[in-house]
């Protein structure tokens, strides 16, 4: 009798043990497509005309028409070391033979991070040849100066990543470029665009004066997503908000660009594909 009661209690303990022991997580199919793309590829490199530098250009992917995050390494050939502090000024140029034009860009700060100077260029057209990036390098104390010229190839991306918009009421054309998300995932995504005015073919100042609204849509189903946050100005013409995707597939993020109450553009959208 006692033995039997004991058996019962042992059973209960065993039962508890079994469940506790079963705590291992079930296998989850890899549906996460948010691989951190820390591996940069080298795009181009060039020697400086004077100053004994090698300038190397890196990016996460091949250059494309749109907003490209770029990373520069400056190597001092005399010491064969990376320069961590320098004044760097970019000047992207497209030489189309009959005419030349520049592009919006963002210069790096004076201090490199992990040996790299982060900067950006918005290429407005693709080209196998014609694009080059002029990089002026100067030591912070002005002791040394030089210039490197990197030839570039710019591809046409699968989906449009930058728009040129003629404001409805006139004024300088606006260049609206998608910065984030580059690797979109289902759920919350940082949404960031950069807006530049085309003041001339050589001058593209950032525009911080706008109001931006976004509306995601899944065009083949006609639905949107909840709780998006409209982008607001951060700095240098960058507007940051949140876009939510509820499922994989093809999404449009519709834009409405306003200056005060005046609607400059409400036709543009970015197509974003989630695998």
């Amino acid at each position: 009798m006692n033995f039997q009661i004991k058996t019962w209690f042992m059973g209960s303990l065993l039962m508890a043990g079994l469940l506790v022991g079963c705590k291992d997580e079930p296998t989850i199919e890899p549906t996460d497509n948010n691989n951190s793309n820390s591996d940069l590829i080298e795009i181009a490199s060039a020697q400086s005309d004077v100053g004994d530098w090698t300038v190397k250009l890196f990016a996460a992917e091949k250059l494309f028409m749109g907003y490209n995050k770029l990373y520069l390494e400056v190597w001092d050939k005399t010491t064969n070391t990376r320069v961590n502090s320098a004044k760097i000024a970019l000047n992207p140029m497209m030489d189309m033979g009959a005419m030349q034009h520049s592009a919006p860009f963002e210069n790096p700060s004076e201090t490199a991070e992990s040996g790299m100077f982060a900067c950006a260029v918005v290429f407005q057209m693709p080209g196998e040849m014609g694009w080059k990036l002029n990089v002026d390098v100067e030591m912070p104390d002005g002791s040394r100066k030089g210039k490197a010229e990197l030839p570039l190839q710019v591809a046409s991306p699968d989906v449009v990543r930058t728009h040129v918009v003629m404001p409805a009421g006139g004024g300088d054309p606006l260049i609206i470029s998608l910065v984030e998300p580059i690797e979109p995932k289902v759920g919350m995504n940082r949404f960031e665009i950069a807006v530049h005015r085309r003041a001339s073919m050589m001058s593209f100042p950032a525009d911080d004066s706008l109001t931006v609204e976004i509306e995601p849509e899944m065009p083949s189903m006609g639905h949107g997503s909840p709780n998006n946050v409209n982008p607001v100005i951060a700095e240098n013409g960058h507007y940051v908000g949140t876009v939510n995707f509820t499922m994989t597939g093809m999404w449009y993020v519709h834009l409405k660009i306003m200056h005060g109450a005046e609607v400059l553009d409400d036709k543009s959208y970015f197509e974003i594909n989630l695998k």
Binding site: M1, Q4, I5, T7, W8, G11, S12, L14, M15, A16, L18, L19, C22, E25, P26, I28, T31, D32, K185, V186, G187, M188, M218, S220, M221, G222, H223, G224, S225, P226, N227, N244, F245, T246, M247, T248, G249, M250, N273, L274, K275
Partner: protein, 685 residues
């Protein structure tokens, strides 16, 4: 074998009363054979004589025998013969039981006490669809707090008790084969059962195969997408290692294919369940404890929705779902002077995952997790004590406490839910309390009454808490779960009255639920529907209160040796604050039958009538339903052979080919018209 046959489909009631009855028996009975069967037999007697359920029970009364013999119906149809149960129909298969106006989210459905959860986000596979009457001994319908033995719930519990192997050394081999035809759906059913018994062991196996086409409704219209095909096979083994010990193993495999759901935009490619349990029972000869049981179980359900056969779909869609559950419980039953009761500890862990993928032409597939891989774990303790007073009156009390935790274990699912500002990767922990008190007493000669009151509480279902754009074809909304909703709780009371005089038994039971934090979908007009053509989005919310009340009555009159009259009726009323009706409440329904039983045959005429339902809630896509009356005719004939019995059952349902629908049918789909059926069964021993 005959006894097995007789018991097979009997809807019995597993209650405080009959559980304890089993324990009053002498060891002699125990030694003579299968214990489960004696449990059942005793409960059968007990149920007929009086009811001692600690909640109000809808014990299978004598009139249920009118329906026995038909082993060819499905479990859900069988269940609906209980007046407290109605069925939600989305097609002709896997009808969803509704207990006192509350559907499957609000009740436990268990198989031999084992927890198992449907894998379909659209409730197309209630657990009743994974067990066949051919494999069943009884279904216990336990109302409100009386069902707490099997888990926390508001409405109560449906526990399907399987037949299992029978240890009967006097009959080495027993078995049966049968086949049936159903004209409305041109359906065929085949079944078999086989039992082999030794002195201390037995093994059994039984199976069913069914294939039904689209059925024909009244007036000759064939309803597309009401077809189905399925098979079910189970295996059971029992062994007595010692004289008062039983080791039992049960396995059930159930597979359905190509199942049409006329009321939904999708059908089912397959629905597969694997269910297994192993238990050890110990019966003590003397002392405080009477019986101990330890059980471990595991099951897995896979379900795949698909729209390949549907015309005019905007794009192809697939929706597979999966649940995996493991669990265990340990029981101790005791008896001391006038007290008897049970203590149960139970644990389970279940994982639910459902996906949806759509394939637009020339674009990336669209994928989401409609159940974002939710792991739910629960630990509970249950205690019941029944005190039999000197007067023969009884007081019962029961308590149950549970801890329930849930969370998503899939990064994709967690990211997905973040768009609704919900962090479902964190553990959600809930504590549930259930308690019930019942009193059963003789009033005076022939009269008896019982009163139950209880507090019941449940945690939200996976869908209610974690759904991600689950489309409900009834109201046309996409549902979004709300992780932070409150537990639903209710004060519940039942009142029962029984009058019995020689050949007449009449019972009246009423139930009353005052539900707090009623869980329901609420329209969120800020959100876009995902499903093409959906009306909008509903998010789960708590309504401050809801009221459900109703009554059932059963009358049984044995006019003479051959002639018997039976009647039953039920009515439910539900309302939410502001006076709007609760959706999906069946109207008044009654069934009357008269049966003549001779030596070898029976004949039965039956009317089934439902009132119209005009109290509807249009927010839930409900439409009013007209009243209907149906006439059924059933008969049976038994031929004894030297080695067994041949049983013929035949009849005509919906004799006048009425075009009708029940109120709980989705999408206004009409029910089958005239249906002739014939079943042939041969049982041998």
């Amino acid at each position: 074998m005959t006894r097995v046959g007789r018991l097979f489909l009997f809807i019995a009631f597993l209650s405080a009363g009959n559980l304890s009855v089993a324990q009053t028996d002498s060891s002699l009975r125990f030694y003579t054979g299968d214990l489960g069967e004696q449990d059942f037999e005793l409960s059968e007697v007990r149920v007929r004589r009086s009811c001692t359920c600690s909640g109000v029970c809808c014990c299978a009364k004598k009139q249920e025998s009118v329906y026995t013999g038909n082993r060819f119906v499905s479990t859900d149809i069988l269940l609906s013969r209980d007046p407290s149960i109605e069925l939600i129909r989305r097609g002709a298969f896997a009808l969803e039981p509704v207990l006192n106006g509350m559907s499957t989210d609000r009740m436990n459905i268990t198989i031999d006490g084992m927890k198992i959860f449907g894998a379909c986000t659209d409730k197309m596979d209630p657990i009743t669809s994974y067990v066949e009457p051919n494999n069943m001994k009884s279904v216990a319908v336990l109302q409100g707090s009386a069902g707490a033995l099997f888990g926390s719930s508001i409405a109560g519990t449906l526990n399907m008790e399987t037949q299992g192997a029978s240890i009967r050394p006097s009959m080495k081999w027993t078995g049966e084969v049968g086949t049936g035809y159903n004209s409305a759906a041109k359906g065929i059913s085949h079944l078999y059962a086989l039992n082999r018994s030794g002195a201390k062991w037995a093994v059994s196996s039984n199976g069913v195969y069914r294939k039904f086409g689209n059925y024909r409704s009244g007036h000759g219209e064939r309803i597309p997408f009401t077809q189905f095909e399925k098979w079910n096979n189970s295996f059971s083994a029992k062994y007595m290692p010692r004289e008062r010990q039983i080791l039992r193993l049960d396995l059930i495999i159930d597979e359905g294919y190509n199942i049409g759901y006329a009321a939904l935009p999708m059908d089912v490619l397959y629905a597969k369940a694997r269910i297994g349990g192993i238990s050890l029972e110990q019966f003590y000869q003397k002392g405080f404890f009477e019986r101990g049981e330890f059980k471990f179980y595991a099951n897995r359900v896979k379900h795949a929705m698909d729209d390949t056969d549907r015309p005019d779909v905007p794009m192809h869609m697939e929706m597979p779902g999966l649940t995996e559950t493991i669990g265990s419980y340990a029981d101790l039953r005791y008896k001391r002077s006038a007290h008897k009761g049970i203590l149960r500890l139970d644990l389970f862990r279940t994982r639910s995952r459902a996906e949806m993928t759509m394939f637009p032409a020339g674009e990336l597939p669209m994928f989401m997790l409609t159940w974002p891989d939710i792991v739910k774990q629960s630990a509970g303790i249950y205690l019941r004590d029944v005190w039999e007073l000197r007067s023969g009156n009884r007081i019962g009390v029961n308590f149950r406490f549970d801890f329930v935790s849930s969370q998503s274990v899939d990064q994709f699912g967690i990211a997905q839910a973040s768009v609704f500002n919900q962090n479902i990767g964190e553990t959600d922990l809930r504590f549930l309390r259930n308690a019930g008190l019942s009193y059963t007493a003789k009033l005076k000669q022939n009269w008896k009454y019982w009163v139950t009151c209880g507090f019941v509480e449940r945690s939200p279902s996976t869908t209610e808490q974690y759904a991600f754009y689950i489309f409900n074809a009834m109201d046309g909304y996409d549902y979004i779960g709300n992780r932070s909703i409150q537990n639903e709780k209710a004060w519940q009371s039942d009142l029962g009255l029984e009058w019995k005089k020689r050949r007449i038994t009449w019972t009246l039971t009423t139930f009353h639920y005052r539900i707090q934090d009623y869980i329901m979908g609420k329209i969120e007009s800020d959100y876009d529907a995902m499903t093409i053509g959906a009306r909008g989005v509903k998010m789960t919310t708590n309504l401050p209160s809801a009221l459900l009340t109703g009554a059932r009555t059963i009358l049984s009159y044995q006019v003479n040796r051959n002639f018997e009259l039976n009647g039953r009726a039920s009515y439910t009323y539900g309302t939410i604050p502001g006076g709007d009706p609760l959706p999906m409440i069946a109207p008044m329904r009654n069934v009357l039958s008269c049966r003549w039983t001779g030596n070898k045959m029976f004949l039965q005429l039956e009317t089934e009538a439902a009132a119209g339902q005009n109290r509807v809630n249009p927010d839930f896509g409900e439409q009013t339903t007209p009243a209907y009356t149906l006439i059924h005719f059933r008969s049976g004939y038994t031929v004894k052979t030297p080695k067994g019995r041949l049983i013929l059952n035949g009849g005509v349902e919906n004799l006048f080919d009425r075009h009708y629908r029940t109120h709980l049918t989705w999408g206004g789909i009409p029910q089958p018209g005239i249906n002739a059926f014939l079943n042939v069964n041969y049982a041998f021993n």
